[in-house]
């Protein structure tokens, strides 16, 4: 680390390089911290977490009991021991609360005045954060598994919704219309994701084992389907040709630059795709245990030099190197299945929520103060190094 600091200081290296090295070091030392806690509000499992993009201060969580909670992640108390308090909740007593489990929540990408939640009660609600009342409600025919708003869109404000219906619906927040549908899948849509690079590229994953990439500006069908064998028809049995996984595809995540797409499936595999060409990069992550009947929410780190993927695997979170495919570590701490995890890019912290109704915060372990600190202390205070702060005063000096 000292070499990075020296290189930065003398101008040999880009400033970004030091930042990336430190971020990587922090991610590699993620651990459960006994000082950091998150308020336990949910009575049932937590299905989804989302941190707002602007400050990274507020976090939304949606649970299986239909309750939505907003937490403040910032530590304003001067103590290291800190519990992230829940600022407000849409609880069971609210008139507008979802009847069944909330599957996905997402902050409005441009400010925290609004958030959108979708649930198994076949509705998607757009909430006003101030009043905690829904400003808009969209009804659907089947359970809503997931929805996503594009994080980079300025001109359009479409929400892509994946439901039990094989048609992907696009709802427009500005006009409230939902006439735009994307046809092509043959099974339930378990996950939808907009690309963080282009505001018109959408990826959808379905129980028919296929992942489709769409350009929403075009009237025709999908751009392409991701094929795990890269067109090599000889590898698969004939029914499995042109599929992304050998089972249901239930998780999608773009990397931060939008150039790669990760997908997980119930065949216990995770695949990395080139999002421009749809090619399988054939990185082998090994067996990524996946038994989820609905969508799996996983995340990729941002700002580190080899990027990391954090995938919930049973009751722990597995950390893989993105391009190397090796398992770095398993983060164990939950008592039951983990359903979702969220990475905080500014502090390199990971929040994960699961069926045990806990949200755990994984914080990088700071380096312990070295031996030099003890020496300087003893030089300054002499024999009175261990003085009780209650007896210290501001006017007496020890130097006589």
């Amino acid at each position: 680390m000292l070499s990075f600091l020296y290189a930065r200081q003398s101008g040999l290296d880009d400033p970004v390089r030091l930042r990336r090295a430190e971020s990587t070091r922090r991610v590699l030392s993620l651990e459960l911290n006994h000082n950091r806690d998150v308020d336990r509000i949910h009575g049932n499992g937590i299905n989804t977490l989302d941190t707002e993009v602007i400050d990274g201060r507020y976090m939304l969580s949606g649970g299986s009991d239909g309750v939505i909670v907003i937490y403040d992640l910032e530590n304003n108390s001067k103590k290291p021991q800190y519990t992230c308090k829940a600022i407000c909740t849409v609880g069971r007593s609210s008139r507008h609360v979802h009847k069944f489990s909330v599957e996905t929540v997402q902050w409005y990408p441009h400010d925290t005045g609004m958030f959108v939640s979708s649930s198994f009660d076949k509705t998607m609600k757009v909430w006003d954060t101030e009043t905690l009342k829904p400003a808009e409600e969209f009804q659907f025919d089947g359970n809503v598994y997931c929805h996503h708003m594009s994080p980079v869109a300025r001109k359009q404000s479409l929400v892509a919704v994946g439901t039990k219906d094989p048609k992907v619906q696009l709802c427009d927040l500005k006009s409230g219309s939902r006439i735009h549908i994307l046809q092509g899948h043959r099974g339930e849509i378990l996950s939808v994701r907009w690309s963080p690079r282009y505001d018109h590229i959408l990826a959808t994953a379905s129980t028919d084992s296929r992942v489709r990439i769409w350009d929403v500006r075009r009237a025709s069908g999908s751009l392409f389907t991701l094929d795990q064998h890269n067109g090599d028809k000889s590898k698969a049995s004939s029914e499995a040709v042109n599929t992304a996984h050998n089972g249901r595809v239930n998780g999608l995540c773009f990397t931060a630059d939008g150039l790669h797409l990760l997908s997980t499936g119930t065949d216990d595999r995770m695949r990395l795709w080139n999002s421009g060409t749809g090619e399988n990069t054939l990185v082998n992550y090994g067996k990524v245990v996946n038994e989820s009947r609905k969508g799996l929410k996983f995340t990729v780190s941002r700002g580190c030099s080899p990027e990391f993927v954090f995938v919930p695997c049973g009751s722990s979170v597995a950390v893989y190197g993105l391009h190397s495919g090796e398992l770095i570590t398993m983060l164990r701490g939950h008592y039951n299945n983990v359903d979702c995890c969220e990475f905080h890019p500014d502090y390199q912290e990971l929040y994960s929520g699961g069926k045990d109704c806990n949200i755990l915060a994984w914080v990088p372990v700071l380096r312990q103060p070295g031996i030099e600190d003890d020496e300087t202390n003893s030089k300054r205070g002499g024999t009175q190094a261990a003085i009780n702060p209650a007896f210290e005063d501001a006017w007496s000096s020890d130097e006589d």
């Binding site: 000889s234 049995s237 038994e291």
Partner: protein
């Protein structure tokens, strides 16, 4: 200023490696290159019991056995593909698992197939097929147009190839490449795998030290060598591999019906 830039990843030792005592020879192989995979393949081939099949099968190794010897799965996949492109290695879909691939050295395969075909009428067709297959082709299955147009086989010749065991029916109009007489191999393999997994599962706490398992007496169900099966179950991640101070521990993973 000419300065070679090191990767940030190299500065941080990405995987902590605890020193473990008394483990088998092939623990860490860090050197890259196809030569390394080839030597691992040769080692695994020695574990294959030839006498069991009366020498009619070439030594078969499963691709995921290599994962138990090398850490980086992506690199293993890449090197196996390189060997296949060079025509040194052949890969087969075994049929009982969509992810289980068998690897055979090309010369061994050719020798055994021709040995099995000696004296039969189908010898000529099989020789022609092998001559087309081995130098360049790295496909796992063939469909009808390919056989007729590219390889210029007639229908009756295709029937002869299926009869000789070199091709297996996949579905109407397409065939998998296969190893003749491999049915017995697959049967013994599945039985043996189930038996070894059962041994791990029945142990106290569902876990057993790898060295202890290697030393156990094999039941009549297990026809192959213990080490062959152990590499296979580790590579397929049917057991969890944990490094302890007394060696590698294999722990049974829940949710595996095998």
């Amino acid at each position: 200023m000419n300065r070679k830039r090191a990767l940030i990843a190299d500065t941080f030792c990405l995987t902590k490696r605890r020193r473990c005592a008394a483990d088998s020879v092939t623990g860490d192989s860090q050197a890259d290159g196809a030569a390394d995979i080839r030597s691992s393949l040769q080692y695994l081939m020695t574990l294959f019991s030839r006498k069991l099949f009366n020498d009619s099968l070439p030594p078969v190794v499963l691709k995921h056995q290599l994962y138990s010897l090398h850490n980086d799965k992506t690199a293993v996949d890449k090197q196996v593909n390189e060997l296949r492109e060079n025509g040194e290695l052949l890969m087969f879909q075994l049929g009982f698992d969509s992810e289980a691939f068998a690897l055979v050295f090309a010369e061994d395969y050719r020798a055994k197939v021709l040995q099995g075909e000696a004296g039969r009428g189908t010898l000529g067709t099989v020789e022609k097929f092998l001559a087309k297959l081995i130098p360049s082709c790295s496909d796992l299955s063939f469909n009808k147009e390919k056989m007729l147009k590219e390889f210029l086989f007639t229908d009756s010749e295709i029937t002869q190839l299926v009869k000789s065991g070199v091709l297996t029916v996949r579905d109407a109009g397409s065939w998998w490449l296969s190893i003749p007489n491999s049915g017995k191999f697959i049967k013994y393999f599945i039985k043996g795998r189930k038996a070894v997994l059962g041994m791990v599962k029945k142990s106290k706490y569902g876990e057993v030290l790898k060295t202890e398992l290697e030393g156990r007496r094999t039941t009549s169900q297990v026809k192959f060598q213990m080490k062959y099966h152990i590499h296979e179950i580790i590579g397929a991640e049917l057991v969890e591999c944990i490094q302890t101070t007394s060696g590698t521990l294999l722990r049974h993973v829940d949710g595996n019906v095998n």
